[in-house]
């Protein structure tokens, strides 16, 4: 019974699909986008929006343009893995304000040379 309950809430009660930048084309509605930050990073997150690109993690794919407003985590920079919520509007992924999280360089993750994580 609990399982049914949980299933119900998780389907009806929201939850966003998590996508890679290369899967974004043609998607509507709010999604969670996870990718690697690609420069140039321009603009102001608290005025007009921060603009940067995101591409797939670990693969060279096309870059999706992102506009973001709100808090920018400390670890945000080119090459870093970030996750933002938002939706695609006329070719630009408009992120929900304050939705960005970066991956903290975990003490448990093995570090590969050249990998900024």
């Amino acid at each position: 019974m609990l399982a049914v309950f949980l299933l119900y809430t998780s389907i009806a009660g929201g939850g966003n699909p998590s996508l890679a930048p290369s899967e974004l084309a043609g998607r509507t509605g709010t999604v969670q986008l996870a990718g690697v930050v690609v420069g140039p990073v321009r603009g102001d997150a608290h005025a007009g929006g921060l603009r940067f690109g995101l591409k797939d993690i670990g693969r060279d794919t096309t870059t999706v343009a992102v506009r973001y407003t709100g808090s920018v985590p400390d670890l945000f920079k080119v090459g870093r893995h970030v996750v933002v919520d938002g939706e695609l509007r006329r070719g630009t992924f408009v992120a929900e304000p304050g939705s960005m999280i970066t991956k903290c360089p975990s003490k448990y993750a093995p570090k590969k040379s050249g990998d900024s994580a």
Partner: protein, 664 residues
């Protein structure tokens, strides 16, 4: 030196494997000398693991960068305490810490209990050894901390946010908790495998479970506090998978600590208890897996690692074997006693267990949902904060209320009339607290108001219990009120320590409700001299300064803070730019009000070259009660954990009345 470390780990692997095979063989055929030899192998494996650990510590202290692990996790400039903390700063080292604690706990638990529970211990040994064989194998074959290289001039250093005193305590405490849960698991398996299904495995492991549970709880609170003051986004818990990883086994262990009382007192819930202990241990393994595997998108880990599949396989084996053993012994586990009434202490504990488990499973579901939906629908769906918040309210608030009811309600069958007498005053206190708060404007958040009302109810019952007990001891001839109070607590540490822990949970609930349901936030871009308001605080941005610390450039904005007409002095918030690590970190400014427990929390989000700063400011009422709750929780845990001869004798005597060889 690295050869010595590698050799020591090989010896540990050999000894553990021997303890599994010889131990199981000896237990099956009843060979006492062979069983003894397996026990000795388990104890010896602790010694060899300690040697391996010592090699790694020595390498860290000598900055021996020919150890790949040392070069990756430290640097010459790193202060010594943090160099030592690099022991658990990387994957290989933290696995070694797991193994070290596991073999240490195993050796201790076996040595303490082998005299009075020999028939159990013979089966506990191979179970413990099987777990340490797994970790020793990982350390020998998959993730060795003793890989060498041509030594570079300097190491890569440690992530700045981990260079914090909290990180000296938080990870080891979580490990003590995770690994500590192995002991009750091994004893439960030992009882099932040996067929000695009496209550001795519970008596033998009660303190281990309590210890593991207390360490997990305090470890998590320290982690939360670290996130609050150091990570600086304005919160202390984000329902991140890695945070949930530690919360789930804690919830399962909490359920277990309560349900064992029902088995001790009434002989019920035997199957349930065994399943709970299996669940708690599996979740501890799952937690270790989550933090390392990179399977889930978490703030804390992103990189894929080599040990993930091994862990998943091991968890699958543990769950399958445990459930198989439980099924095999199912007929003997059935309880003769039945629940007599839905209004009784047994029933209240059962509801508590169901709610704790429901919360635990809801969180588990949220954690694995992205993976499941990816497998089923080809698309990972992530459940957000609202999902978890919903279940925390739906299951957490009734739990809070039950905490006041459960300990006071009668065993077997309680009459409604007795309930009315017992709970008259707590109900009056709760309702009047709720009414007063409603008048003061707390109606803005109904869950928050409910949490406060329930908290008042529970606190009233706890105060009543202490008052009643103290009065009784005074009547029995205690010389003074303080001595009546201390004798009350010391004569039943488990019960009154438990109340203290309950009080801590109430403080925690009040702190969480206050800081999440009644907080406020304001943001503004300020040039020097400009000011902003939040609640009755006024903040004036006065100046910006830059100073050079040994490893970072520190930029700080100074703010003048006033509350109403009162000058509260200044507050600094800014950023550190770390030179070697090339990272920037927020350094938040926090002003705590000692009297009300309220925090003013300032983040300098963006500092422009022209000196204007974008500030984000929170007012978090009562948030300091969360940290105070940690101290009270520690106090309560210590009271319950304190050795109590009288209680131990009582338990052993009870075990012997059911016809057991209790020789302790």
């Amino acid at each position: 030196m690295p050869e010595l470390g590698r050799a020591a780990l090989l010896v540990t692997l050999g000894l553990s494997a021997y303890a599994v095979i010889a131990g199981a063989y000896a237990a099956h055929l009843g060979r006492r000398r062979l069983a003894r030899s397996a026990q000795n192998a388990l104890v010896a494996s602790f010694v060899s693991t300690a040697v391996a650990a010592a090699v790694l510590v020595a390498a860290l202290l000598r900055n021996d960068f020919s150890f790949e692990y040392v070069a990756r996790t430290t640097s010459r400039a790193l202060p010594t305490p943090y160099t030592l903390s690099a022991f658990w700063g990387g994957q290989e080292g933290s696995l070694l810490l797991w193994l070290l604690i596991l073999t240490g706990f195993g050796a201790a638990a076996v040595s303490i209990n082998r005299a009075w529970a020999r028939d159990l211990i013979v089966w506990v040994v191979p179970v413990l050894a099987a777990v340490s064989t797994f970790f020793a194998f990982l350390l020998v074959a998959v993730a060795s901390p003793f890989v060498t290289q041509a030594a570079p001039a300097d190491g890569a250093g440690m992530t700045p946010s981990l260079q914090n005193p909290y990180m000296l305590a938080h990870p080891p405490l979580l490990y003590l908790g995770y690994v500590g849960l192995t002991v009750p698991f091994a004893f439960a398996m030992g009882a099932l495998l040996s067929g000695k299904l009496d209550e001795r495995w519970l008596i033998a492991t009660r303190r281990w479970t309590l210890f593991a549970w207390a360490a997990l709880g305090i470890g998590q609170l320290i982690g939360s506090h670290w996130a609050y003051v150091e990570v600086g986004w304005g919160g202390y818990y984000a329902w991140d998978p890695v945070e949930n990883a530690a919360l789930m086994p804690w919830l399962a262990a909490t359920a277990f600590l309560h349900s064992v009382m029902i088995q001790e007192k009434r002989g019920m819930l035997k199957i349930w208890n065994v399943l709970l202990v299996v669940l708690a241990f599996s979740l501890a393994l799952f937690g270790t897996f989550l933090t390392r595997s990179g399977v889930v998108n978490s703030i804390h880990s992103f990189t894929q690692s080599s040990i993930g599949p091994w862990f998943l396989g091991f968890i699958a084996v543990v769950v399958a074997v445990s459930l198989g053993v439980v099924l095999w012994r199912l007929p003997q586990l059935r309880s003769p006693t039945k629940l007599e009434s839905a209004i009784s202490r047994e029933a209240a504990f059962l509801y508590n267990n169901l709610l704790l488990l429901a919360l635990c499973l809801a969180i588990l579901w949220g954690v694995v949902y992205p993976m499941l939906s990816e497998a089923v629908r080809g698309e990972a769906v992530v459940l957000g904060r609202s999902y978890y918040d919903f279940f925390l309210r739906a299951f957490g608030l009734p739990l809070l209320l039950l905490m006041g009811i459960g300990p006071l309600i009668a065993w077997r069958r309680a009459s409604l009339k007795s309930l009315a007498t017992t709970f008259r005053w707590p109900t009056v206190v709760a309702l009047s607290t709720g009414a007063v708060l409603l008048l003061l404007g707390a109606g803005s958040s109904i869950p928050g108001l409910v949490a406060y009302t329930f908290s008042a109810f529970v606190l009233a019952t706890i105060v009543m219990e202490f008052a009643r007990g103290t009065r009784a001891r005074k009547a029995l001839g205690a010389s003074s009120w303080p001595s009546a109070f201390t004798s009350l607590v010391s004569r039943n540490r488990r019960r009154y320590g438990g109340y203290v822990v309950h009080a801590a949970i109430v403080l925690f609930a009040i702190g969480v409700a206050g800081s999440s349901a009644f907080d406020s936030v304001a943001e503004a871009k300020l040039a020097r001299g400009q000011s902003m308001r939040i609640g009755d605080y006024t903040l004036v941005y006065r100046s910006l300064s830059e100073r050079q610390a040994p490893n970072a450039t520190e930029i700080r904005a100074t703010l003048g803070v006033r509350r109403g007409d009162r000058d509260l002095g200044t507050l600094e918030a800014g950023k550190n730019a770390y030179t070697i690590e090339q990272q920037v970190s927020n350094e938040v400014g926090i002003r705590s009000d000692k009297l009300t427990g309220e925090d003013l929390f300032v983040i300098a989000e963006q500092i422009d070259p022209n000196g204007t700063v974008y500030f984000r400011v929170f007012v978090k009422p009562l948030v300091n009660l969360i940290w105070l709750a940690g101290l009270v929780f520690l106090l309560g845990s210590v009271i319950t954990l304190w050795p109590d001869r009288r209680e131990q004798r009582r338990l052993v005597a009870r075990a012997s009345t059911v016809g057991l060889p209790a020789t302790r």
